[in-house]
């Protein structure tokens, strides 16, 4: 099993619902967020357009954050989801330094926190909170190992990209062009 997410950047309007849904679902402390929207202006004048990217931990295939963690608090579970065990984390910050995406942060309680792909929902067959609330339905979540899954088909049919592939972590959040 290999969970991944595909996000259609043409449908995304940058409303930020995914951010709020995550904060509510996962009890993210006030002033923090596990996912976020990047907003860019692209093109040359006068052909300008806005480009939105909903970003979060890429649940990379090659995980520098897990590798550098001294205690094993950062680990990979079934489906390639990268998680942090709070009471094994000493808050050394090594994983934060290791992540090219700045996807992790220190929770005010001291341990490191990040996107979990809502594994507690996923194991019940639900979509992650962000995916389930998106009003434009621009996000798809699923199993890449299953060639019949919607996400596998979409990635085959449509051109897509990942963020910072040059950082070498094999990110698993795909953006559909």
């Amino acid at each position: 099993m290999r969970y991944a997410m595909a996000i259609d950047v043409n449908k995304c309007v940058g409303c930020g619902d995914c951010v709020v849904a995550c904060q509510t679902e996962n009890n993210v402390p006030l002033g923090y967020s596990r996912d976020w929207i990047m907003e860019f202006v692209k093109g040359d004048y006068p052909d300008l357009f806005l480009h939105f990217e909903s970003q979060r931990c890429n649940h990379c295939e090659d995980t520098p954050c897990v590798r550098t963690c001294p205690t094993g608090a950062s680990h990979v579970i079934e489906g390639g989801i990268v998680k942090v065990t709070h009471d094994e984390c000493i808050g050394c910050g090594a994983c934060i330094e290791a992540c090219p995406y700045d996807a992790r942060y220190f929770h005010p309680d001291g341990y490191v926190d990040k996107c979990t792909f809502c594994d507690h929902r996923v194991k019940d067959g639900l979509d992650p909170a962000c995916v389930s609330v998106c009003p434009t339905e621009c996000m798809y979540f699923g199993d890449l190992d299953d060639p019949e899954s919607k996400i596998s088909k979409l990635l085959k049919e449509r051109e897509n990209y990942t963020i910072l592939p040059e950082a070498g972590t094999k990110p698993q959040i795909y953006y559909l062009k």
């Binding site: 940058g14 930020g16 951010v19 002033g31 923090y32 967020s33 996912d35 976020w36 929207i37 990047m38 907003e39 860019f40 202006v41 692209k42 806005l50 480009h51 990217e53 520098p64 590798r67 550098t68 963690c69 001294p70 205690t71 094993g72 608090a73 009471d87 094994e88 984390c89 000493i90 808050g91 050394c92 910050g93 090594a94 934060i96 330094e97 290791a98 992540c99 090219p100 995406y101 700045d102 942060y105 220190f106 309680d109 001291g110 341990y111 490191v112 990209y161 963020i163 910072l164 040059e166 950082a167 070498g168 972590t169 953006y175």
Partner: protein, 332 residues
């Protein structure tokens, strides 16, 4: 292409992460390197049979290594955000995580730094009396008393004395590992192009050993020992300069992100402090002073020694700070 805004990312204290590691980590790396240098010289000159000629290097210097390591470990723990869980660090050993094997190395080295001087305690006591360091003799005499009372496990020290040659060899290896570790801790992070650099290990080792020699040179009162250390230090400085030049040449020949990382030091915001303060006053100036001293000019040895020690600390502060600022740019 222009970045307009990042929803929930315009939080100053969260993103970008440029100060996850600060002064405590830089000092931890500095103290680790210093202790590695001190112990490396002690083991090396013991193995070379220079115990009598270089009493400070072999016996007295290591006395300082233990408190230095303890201070370093204290700073490491101080910097943790989840301090109460620090014991988790010692529940596993993970070879792929430098933070993990480095912490273990530090523990092993701290045992050596404790037992090594204890095994020499009688002659250390004599030395201290001769030098009139009466405050420190109180410590050694207390330790001797404890040892005689069997409170410090006597047999461990006896064993240590018996197998000192072998243990000196192990200590030599471990001090090198410790020195390299202080650089590898940073170079393990691909996400920061400045750190992602194989020269960092040898460079930090050389710099650490150089601070070790400065420390010995500063506190020894034996003229021969001082001159030897200052000659060694000069070659270490030369090696350091060689590594530094190579590091930047390598980065300039690399991909765009590496060029940008090098740019921080070649015209960017760290140019003045790196070249002016660290290279100029922490490497070249002490090098010149040491050269003059060897030529017979009278230079108070404390001046180059302190310059090197402060320079070593500044070097680590710069590398830790600049490394965190060197990142892959987040543009589509």
């Amino acid at each position: 292409m222009e970045k307009l805004l990042a929803t929930d990312r315009n939080i100053d204290y969260l993103y970008p992460h440029v100060d996850v590691w600060g002064f405590p980590i830089s000092s931890y790396l500095f103290l680790g390197g210093l202790a590695a240098g001190i112990l490396l010289f002690a083991a090396l000159y013991y193995l070379l049979g220079k115990e009598k000629d270089m009493p400070f290097t072999v016996k007295i210097g290591p006395l300082f290594a233990f408190p230095i390591i303890v201070l370093g470990l204290f700073l490491l723990v101080f910097d943790l955000h989840h301090k109460l869980y620090v014991w988790q660090l010692f529940m596993t050993a993970r070879a792929v995580s430098p933070m993990s094997w480095g912490a273990w190395t530090l523990v092993i080295v701290s045992f050596f730094s404790l037992l090594w001087p204890l095994s020499f305690i009688d002659s250390i006591d004599e030395y201290l009396i001769k030098r009139g360091w009466s405050k420190m003799t109180k410590v050694t005499e207390y330790l001797i008393k404890l040892e005689h009372k069997w409170i410090i496990p006597h047999f461990i020290i006896i064993m240590f004395r018996k197998y000192r040659k072998f243990l000196a060899f192990v200590m030599l290896i471990y001090s090198i590992i410790l020195g390299i570790y202080t650089g590898i801790l940073l170079s393990a992070f691909n996400a920061h192009p400045l750190w992602n650099n194989p020269i960092l290990g040898p460079l930090f080792l050389t710099s650490g050993v150089s601070t070790g020699s400065a420390f010995v040179m500063w506190l020894s009162n034996n003229k021969k020992e001082r001159l030897l250390m200052s000659a060694i230090d000069m070659s270490l400085i030369a090696i350091e300069l060689f590594f530094i030049v190579h590091m930047f040449m390598g980065m300039e020949a690399g991909a765009e992100v590496y060029k940008q990382a090098a740019g921080l030091f070649l015209g960017g915001e760290f140019t003045a402090v790196f070249w002016g303060v660290f290279v100029g006053m922490g490497l070249i100036l002490p090098f010149i002073l040491e050269a003059l001293e060897l030529k017979g000019f009278h230079i108070p040895i404390v001046v180059p020694a302190i310059l090197i020690l402060v320079g070593g600390l500044i070097f680590r502060i710069i590398m830790v700070q600049a490394g965190q600022m060197s990142e892959y740019p987040m543009f589509p």
